[in-house]
Symmetry: C2
Subunit: 244 residues, 2 copies
């Protein structure tokens, strides 16, 4: 299996064509997904030969993995910092998170293609799904689960917490995964730059109203009854292979 390729799997030196290929591949994979992206288009955008991908990265999958390795999540975003700041009230953190994720999902910031690649990976998973989940999705899901726990208060089981978390991201991802249908139904329904904040406020308010209502009901129910041992149950979205 020792091919002529120099360092197909390792990072290797970032020569010019390597960089150009990585940049072009990042854009094309984000725009079209792994399957619909063609090596020919990537090489054309990179100004390289068709054989360059196989030479530098082994094959198409190797290039895709290299793109995933090169992409870093956008944690320098101020919304991200606000959402992560545990000294901020949960309602404010939720709004900051919704705004942050919504921006990434809708690709309102052009210079951040990882969000698009993650979306593609959800709809049409590739062999790199496990890495994508462990590196990018699971940490964020666990964090959001903690925030939802703060909003809902005690007395909720692990799966109830998980479902509430998924209700939040479901509202956001809907606009990405169903964008063609939404656009066709009524193009004014699709978030634009001028009404983006109204969408953020709706999803935040909808979620806050829901959690407040569920919390009030749970507190009224467990007024005298014994609450389930929630603090003993593991937090949601744990890695089952990492028993930490």
């Amino acid at each position: 299996m020792s091919l002529t390729t120099p360092d197909a799997l390792a990072g290797g030196p970032l020569t010019d064509t390597r960089r150009h290929l990585l940049d072009a591949a990042t854009d094309v994979f984000a725009e079209k997904g792994f399957r619909e992206a063609t090596i020919r288009e990537i090489c054309q955008r990179a100004g390289a030969n068709v054989a360059a991908v196989n030479y530098h990265f082994g094959d198409k999958e190797g290039l895709y993995e290299a793109v995933l390795t090169a992409c870093r999540n956008d944690h320098r975003n101020p919304e991200s910092h606000l959402a992560m700041d545990s000294s901020v009230p949960p309602a404010i953190r939720l709004e900051a998170y919704v705004r942050w994720m919504f921006r990434r999902v809708l690709a309102l910031d052009r210079e951040f293609p990882l969000g698009q690649i993650l979306n593609r990976e959800m709809i049409e998973p590739t062999p790199a799904l496990s890495r994508v989940v462990e590196v990018h999705i699971r940490p964020e899901a666990r964090w959001l689960g903690g925030l939802m726990s703060d909003l809902l208060g005690p007395g909720f089981a692990r799966d109830e917490l998980s479902r509430a978390t998924m209700s939040v991201v479901g509202q956001i991802l809907f606009y990405k995964h169903c964008s063609s249908v939404v656009h066709f139904l009524d193009e004014t329904l699709m978030p634009r730059r001028d009404d983006f904040e109204a969408h953020v406020r709706h999803i935040t308010d909808f979620t806050l109203a829901a959690t407040a209502g569920l919390r009030a009901r749970r507190e009224a129910q467990s007024g005298g009854a014994s609450a389930p041992a929630d603090s003993a149950s593991p937090p949601p979205f744990c890695n089952p292979n990492t028993p930490t």
Copy 2:
């Protein structure tokens, strides 16, 4: 352009091979989507020759459209009737609708492939998207918008109503569009037959708590202020081309 095909666009007589092709194509399109479905597999399942599709339906798109024409929505479902019954309280109708849509989305009933085809059409639209939206999606969206209006009460503008409606279907569709990620994150989170009702109840409760909270806030706000002319604004998800 007069080909040798008998009645490529019209329905034509339902000979044996036609029926077998339609049945096989329905299954394959539902399982793999338009793009990944291959004519060769459809013909193999139908026990027909590869040229049969082009002879009977013109091309792959013609077969797809014929499948869409042959598929009818499942309005004989008891949950559908309960949801549509305007004499039933809105909260009950919402729960019935969530159960109905969830079952279609998750394909818990094997004998109803249209739901899968609709899902594929959202993620990867084909030229048949406009027909699919007008025939199947828009009527249901408008109906659900009316139900959300009942839940939210007066005083909500058209786009607020639309966003609330999309918050509901977003929660449901999430499990379909992100099934691979959810399965990988924690396979116990994916709805199964034994905890399906718990998911239905969560989405229903989450939505009911949200609408109740938003309604209470709106009623408190517009205690003395003038409410916007909501009854004059058109209902959500109207067809902009049909000014009825």
